[in-house]
Protein backbone atom coordinates (compact mmCIF):
# COMPACT_ATOMS: atom_id res chain seq x y z
CA UNK A 1 0.00 0.00 0.00
CA UNK A 2 1.33 3.36 -0.80
CA UNK A 3 1.88 6.00 1.78
CA UNK A 4 -0.91 8.44 2.31
CA UNK A 5 -0.56 11.93 3.59
CA UNK A 6 -3.20 13.51 5.78
CA UNK A 7 -3.78 16.92 7.22
CA UNK A 8 -5.48 16.85 10.56
CA UNK A 9 -6.83 20.01 12.10
CA UNK A 10 -8.75 20.16 15.30
CA UNK A 11 -10.10 22.99 17.39
CA UNK A 12 -10.16 23.01 21.16
CA UNK A 13 -12.25 25.18 23.38
CA UNK A 14 -10.64 28.57 23.87
CA UNK A 15 -10.13 28.35 27.59
CA UNK A 16 -8.45 24.97 27.60
CA UNK A 17 -5.26 24.89 29.65
CA UNK A 18 -2.01 24.25 27.89
CA UNK A 19 -1.29 20.90 29.44
CA UNK A 20 -4.61 19.50 28.38
CA UNK A 21 -3.91 20.41 24.79
CA UNK A 22 -0.51 18.80 25.05
CA UNK A 23 -2.14 15.73 26.47
CA UNK A 24 -4.49 15.48 23.53
CA UNK A 25 -1.64 15.97 21.09
CA UNK A 26 0.42 13.25 22.68
CA UNK A 27 -2.56 10.90 22.76
CA UNK A 28 -3.00 11.39 19.05
CA UNK A 29 0.66 10.87 18.40
CA UNK A 30 0.78 7.69 20.39
CA UNK A 31 -2.24 6.14 18.82
CA UNK A 32 -0.97 7.12 15.41
CA UNK A 33 2.31 5.35 16.05
CA UNK A 34 0.45 2.34 17.38
CA UNK A 35 -1.48 1.97 14.17
CA UNK A 36 1.49 2.33 11.95
CA UNK A 37 1.44 6.00 11.23
CA UNK A 38 3.83 8.83 11.73
CA UNK A 39 3.16 12.37 12.76
CA UNK A 40 5.40 14.58 10.73
CA UNK A 41 4.51 17.98 11.98
CA UNK A 42 2.52 19.52 14.76
CA UNK A 43 1.65 23.17 14.77
CA UNK A 44 -0.33 25.11 17.25
CA UNK A 45 -1.94 28.09 15.68
CA UNK A 46 -3.23 29.45 18.92
CA UNK A 47 -6.53 31.02 19.62
CA UNK A 48 -8.27 32.29 16.53
CA UNK A 49 -11.63 33.71 15.83
CA UNK A 50 -14.04 31.24 14.32
CA UNK A 51 -16.09 32.12 11.28
CA UNK A 52 -19.25 30.84 12.94
CA UNK A 53 -20.32 29.65 16.34
CA UNK A 54 -19.25 26.14 17.18
CA UNK A 55 -20.69 24.67 20.33
CA UNK A 56 -21.55 28.17 21.48
CA UNK A 57 -17.93 29.35 21.18
CA UNK A 58 -16.74 32.17 18.98
CA UNK A 59 -13.03 31.43 19.35
CA UNK A 60 -10.99 28.30 19.39
CA UNK A 61 -7.51 26.96 19.80
CA UNK A 62 -6.34 25.51 16.51
CA UNK A 63 -3.94 22.59 16.29
CA UNK A 64 -2.63 21.36 12.97
CA UNK A 65 -0.88 18.04 12.42
CA UNK A 66 0.47 16.26 9.40
CA UNK A 67 0.14 12.51 9.41
CA UNK A 68 1.72 10.01 7.12
CA UNK A 69 0.44 6.47 7.12
CA UNK A 70 0.12 3.46 4.90
CA UNK A 71 -3.08 2.23 6.48
CA UNK A 72 -6.34 3.97 6.04
CA UNK A 73 -8.14 2.83 9.19
CA UNK A 74 -5.88 4.91 11.36
CA UNK A 75 -8.00 7.91 10.56
CA UNK A 76 -11.09 6.33 12.00
CA UNK A 77 -9.27 5.67 15.23
CA UNK A 78 -7.88 9.17 15.55
CA UNK A 79 -11.18 10.79 14.80
CA UNK A 80 -12.87 8.57 17.35
CA UNK A 81 -10.47 9.78 19.98
CA UNK A 82 -11.04 13.36 19.05
CA UNK A 83 -14.76 12.92 19.09
CA UNK A 84 -14.66 11.40 22.54
CA UNK A 85 -12.48 14.13 23.97
CA UNK A 86 -14.39 16.93 25.62
CA UNK A 87 -12.06 19.75 24.82
CA UNK A 88 -12.13 19.24 21.06
CA UNK A 89 -15.09 20.92 19.42
CA UNK A 90 -14.28 20.42 15.76
CA UNK A 91 -11.91 18.31 13.72
CA UNK A 92 -11.21 17.70 10.07
CA UNK A 93 -8.97 15.27 8.25
CA UNK A 94 -8.02 15.93 4.66
CA UNK A 95 -6.19 13.51 2.45
CA UNK A 96 -3.50 15.32 0.55
CA UNK A 97 -1.25 12.87 -1.21
CA UNK A 98 -3.14 12.92 -4.49
CA UNK A 99 -3.08 16.69 -4.55
CA UNK A 100 0.60 16.78 -3.86
CA UNK A 101 1.29 14.19 -6.52
CA UNK A 102 -0.59 16.28 -9.03
CA UNK A 103 1.28 19.36 -7.92
CA UNK A 104 4.62 17.66 -8.38
CA UNK A 105 3.58 16.39 -11.77
CA UNK A 106 2.69 19.91 -12.86
CA UNK A 107 5.99 21.22 -11.61
CA UNK A 108 7.81 18.48 -13.48
CA UNK A 109 5.90 19.20 -16.66
CA UNK A 110 6.73 22.84 -16.40
CA UNK A 111 10.40 22.22 -15.79
CA UNK A 112 10.60 19.80 -18.66
CA UNK A 113 8.91 22.22 -20.98
CA UNK A 114 11.10 25.05 -19.86
CA UNK A 115 14.25 23.07 -20.41
CA UNK A 116 13.18 21.78 -23.80
CA UNK A 117 13.10 25.11 -25.50
CA UNK A 118 14.60 28.38 -24.36
CA UNK A 119 11.67 30.44 -23.24
CA UNK A 120 11.61 34.03 -22.28
CA UNK A 121 10.50 34.44 -18.68
CA UNK A 122 6.82 35.14 -18.31
CA UNK A 123 6.92 38.48 -16.59
CA UNK A 124 9.21 40.58 -18.75
CA UNK A 125 7.79 43.58 -20.56
CA UNK A 126 10.52 43.19 -23.19
CA UNK A 127 8.31 41.46 -25.76
CA UNK A 128 5.82 44.28 -25.53
CA UNK A 129 8.52 46.84 -26.06
CA UNK A 130 9.80 45.02 -29.08
CA UNK A 131 6.40 44.86 -30.70
CA UNK A 132 5.76 48.58 -31.29
CA UNK A 133 9.12 49.17 -33.00
CA UNK A 134 8.37 46.22 -35.27
CA UNK A 135 4.94 47.64 -35.99
CA UNK A 136 6.47 51.00 -36.72
CA UNK A 137 8.93 49.48 -39.13
CA UNK A 138 6.25 47.60 -40.99
CA UNK A 139 4.10 50.73 -41.07
CA UNK A 140 7.00 52.77 -42.36
CA UNK A 141 7.86 50.22 -45.00
Amino acid sequence: MEERLYDLIFICRPATPEEEINKIVSTIEHSAVEHGGKIEKTEKWGTRRLAYRVSKHREGFFVYMVLRSAQSDIIKELERRLKVSDAVIKYQTVRLDEDLKRQQKLVQHRERRASRRPRKPATTPAPQQQMPPAAEQTAAS
Binding site: L50, A51, Y64, K90, A122
Partner: protein, 154 residues
Protein backbone atom coordinates in the same frame (compact mmCIF):
# COMPACT_ATOMS: atom_id res chain seq x y z
CA UNK B 1 -35.48 29.66 -43.32
CA UNK B 2 -36.38 30.66 -46.88
CA UNK B 3 -40.06 30.85 -46.20
CA UNK B 4 -41.34 33.76 -48.19
CA UNK B 5 -45.05 33.23 -47.61
CA UNK B 6 -46.95 35.35 -45.18
CA UNK B 7 -47.55 33.33 -42.03
CA UNK B 8 -50.82 33.49 -40.07
CA UNK B 9 -50.98 35.45 -36.90
CA UNK B 10 -49.59 32.64 -34.78
CA UNK B 11 -46.27 34.39 -35.23
CA UNK B 12 -47.35 37.32 -33.11
CA UNK B 13 -45.67 36.02 -29.94
CA UNK B 14 -42.40 35.96 -31.83
CA UNK B 15 -43.00 39.47 -33.07
CA UNK B 16 -43.63 40.71 -29.59
CA UNK B 17 -40.41 39.09 -28.42
CA UNK B 18 -38.35 40.86 -31.02
CA UNK B 19 -39.07 44.44 -29.92
CA UNK B 20 -38.50 43.56 -26.27
CA UNK B 21 -34.97 42.31 -26.92
CA UNK B 22 -32.76 45.41 -27.09
CA UNK B 23 -31.02 44.90 -30.37
CA UNK B 24 -30.10 47.47 -32.92
CA UNK B 25 -32.12 46.03 -35.73
CA UNK B 26 -35.06 45.20 -33.55
CA UNK B 27 -36.99 48.31 -34.47
CA UNK B 28 -40.66 47.63 -34.00
CA UNK B 29 -41.56 49.82 -36.94
CA UNK B 30 -42.13 48.39 -40.34
CA UNK B 31 -39.16 50.35 -41.61
CA UNK B 32 -36.74 48.16 -39.73
CA UNK B 33 -38.01 45.01 -41.26
CA UNK B 34 -38.69 46.76 -44.48
CA UNK B 35 -35.22 46.27 -45.88
CA UNK B 36 -35.63 42.55 -45.60
CA UNK B 37 -39.08 42.03 -46.94
CA UNK B 38 -38.89 44.41 -49.86
CA UNK B 39 -41.51 42.92 -52.02
CA UNK B 40 -43.92 42.19 -49.23
CA UNK B 41 -46.63 44.10 -47.59
CA UNK B 42 -46.44 45.61 -44.12
CA UNK B 43 -48.09 42.54 -42.76
CA UNK B 44 -44.98 40.58 -43.61
CA UNK B 45 -42.70 43.08 -41.91
CA UNK B 46 -43.20 42.21 -38.24
CA UNK B 47 -43.05 38.56 -39.07
CA UNK B 48 -39.72 39.06 -40.73
CA UNK B 49 -38.48 40.61 -37.54
CA UNK B 50 -39.79 37.68 -35.65
CA UNK B 51 -37.69 35.36 -37.74
CA UNK B 52 -34.63 37.47 -37.56
CA UNK B 53 -35.18 37.80 -33.84
CA UNK B 54 -35.06 34.06 -33.55
CA UNK B 55 -31.96 33.79 -35.67
CA UNK B 56 -30.12 36.73 -34.16
CA UNK B 57 -30.89 35.81 -30.61
CA UNK B 58 -29.70 32.29 -31.19
CA UNK B 59 -26.41 33.45 -32.58
CA UNK B 60 -25.86 35.82 -29.74
CA UNK B 61 -26.41 33.11 -27.21
CA UNK B 62 -23.87 30.84 -28.80
CA UNK B 63 -21.30 33.58 -28.66
CA UNK B 64 -21.77 34.27 -24.99
CA UNK B 65 -22.33 30.73 -23.87
CA UNK B 66 -18.91 29.06 -23.89
CA UNK B 67 -17.44 32.15 -22.35
CA UNK B 68 -15.52 33.18 -25.39
CA UNK B 69 -11.99 32.33 -26.43
CA UNK B 70 -9.37 32.22 -23.80
CA UNK B 71 -11.96 31.81 -21.10
CA UNK B 72 -12.80 35.48 -21.09
CA UNK B 73 -15.31 35.99 -18.33
CA UNK B 74 -17.63 38.86 -17.68
CA UNK B 75 -19.18 38.22 -21.06
CA UNK B 76 -22.55 39.55 -22.13
CA UNK B 77 -25.00 36.83 -21.49
CA UNK B 78 -28.24 38.31 -20.32
CA UNK B 79 -29.78 39.74 -23.39
CA UNK B 80 -27.41 42.65 -23.78
CA UNK B 81 -27.80 44.32 -20.40
CA UNK B 82 -24.03 44.69 -20.22
CA UNK B 83 -21.74 45.90 -22.93
CA UNK B 84 -21.02 43.63 -25.78
CA UNK B 85 -17.28 43.21 -25.43
CA UNK B 86 -15.89 41.39 -22.46
CA UNK B 87 -13.20 42.77 -20.20
CA UNK B 88 -10.00 40.85 -20.45
CA UNK B 89 -9.31 39.34 -17.06
CA UNK B 90 -6.44 37.05 -16.40
CA UNK B 91 -6.54 34.14 -14.00
CA UNK B 92 -4.56 35.20 -10.99
CA UNK B 93 -3.40 31.70 -10.27
CA UNK B 94 -2.25 31.00 -13.77
CA UNK B 95 -0.13 34.12 -13.75
CA UNK B 96 1.53 33.15 -10.49
CA UNK B 97 1.74 29.50 -11.58
CA UNK B 98 0.10 28.27 -8.41
CA UNK B 99 -0.21 24.50 -8.28
CA UNK B 100 -1.94 24.02 -5.00
CA UNK B 101 -4.51 26.20 -3.39
CA UNK B 102 -4.13 25.80 0.34
CA UNK B 103 -7.38 25.74 2.25
CA UNK B 104 -5.60 26.69 5.45
CA UNK B 105 -4.78 30.17 4.24
CA UNK B 106 -8.05 31.96 4.72
CA UNK B 107 -6.67 35.35 3.73
CA UNK B 108 -5.73 34.00 0.33
CA UNK B 109 -9.22 32.70 -0.21
CA UNK B 110 -10.93 35.81 1.08
CA UNK B 111 -10.86 37.80 -2.20
CA UNK B 112 -12.84 35.07 -3.90
CA UNK B 113 -15.67 35.08 -1.44
CA UNK B 114 -18.49 37.60 -1.27
CA UNK B 115 -19.32 39.53 1.84
CA UNK B 116 -22.21 37.20 2.42
CA UNK B 117 -19.88 34.23 2.29
CA UNK B 118 -20.84 33.00 -1.16
CA UNK B 119 -18.19 31.91 -3.63
CA UNK B 120 -17.73 34.41 -6.43
CA UNK B 121 -18.42 33.14 -9.93
CA UNK B 122 -15.66 32.77 -12.45
CA UNK B 123 -16.82 35.62 -14.59
CA UNK B 124 -16.33 38.04 -11.73
CA UNK B 125 -12.89 36.98 -10.66
CA UNK B 126 -11.41 35.97 -13.99
CA UNK B 127 -10.23 32.60 -12.77
CA UNK B 128 -9.76 29.77 -15.21
CA UNK B 129 -11.92 26.69 -14.87
CA UNK B 130 -9.26 24.46 -13.37
CA UNK B 131 -8.34 26.90 -10.67
CA UNK B 132 -11.95 27.71 -10.00
CA UNK B 133 -12.57 24.06 -9.26
CA UNK B 134 -9.59 23.89 -6.90
CA UNK B 135 -10.64 27.13 -5.33
CA UNK B 136 -14.14 25.84 -4.68
CA UNK B 137 -12.78 22.73 -3.02
CA UNK B 138 -10.44 24.74 -0.86
CA UNK B 139 -13.15 27.17 0.19
CA UNK B 140 -15.45 24.34 1.15
CA UNK B 141 -12.73 22.70 3.22
CA UNK B 142 -12.01 25.98 4.93
CA UNK B 143 -15.67 26.44 5.67
CA UNK B 144 -15.81 23.05 7.30
CA UNK B 145 -13.07 23.92 9.72
CA UNK B 146 -14.52 27.35 10.54
CA UNK B 147 -11.84 29.36 8.80
CA UNK B 148 -14.40 30.81 6.43
CA UNK B 149 -18.08 31.31 7.05
CA UNK B 150 -20.83 29.43 5.32
CA UNK B 151 -23.09 32.44 5.27
CA UNK B 152 -22.98 35.78 6.99
CA UNK B 153 -25.88 38.06 7.57
CA UNK B 154 -25.51 41.52 6.17
Amino acid sequence: MSDESVKPSTESPAATHAPSAPRSEGAPSGGGGGHRSEGHSGGGGPRREGYSGGGGGGQRREGGGPGGPGGGPGGPRRGGKRQYFRKKKVCRFCVERVDFIDYKKAEMLQPFVQERGKILPRRMTGTCSRHQRWLGEAIKRARNIALLPFATEL
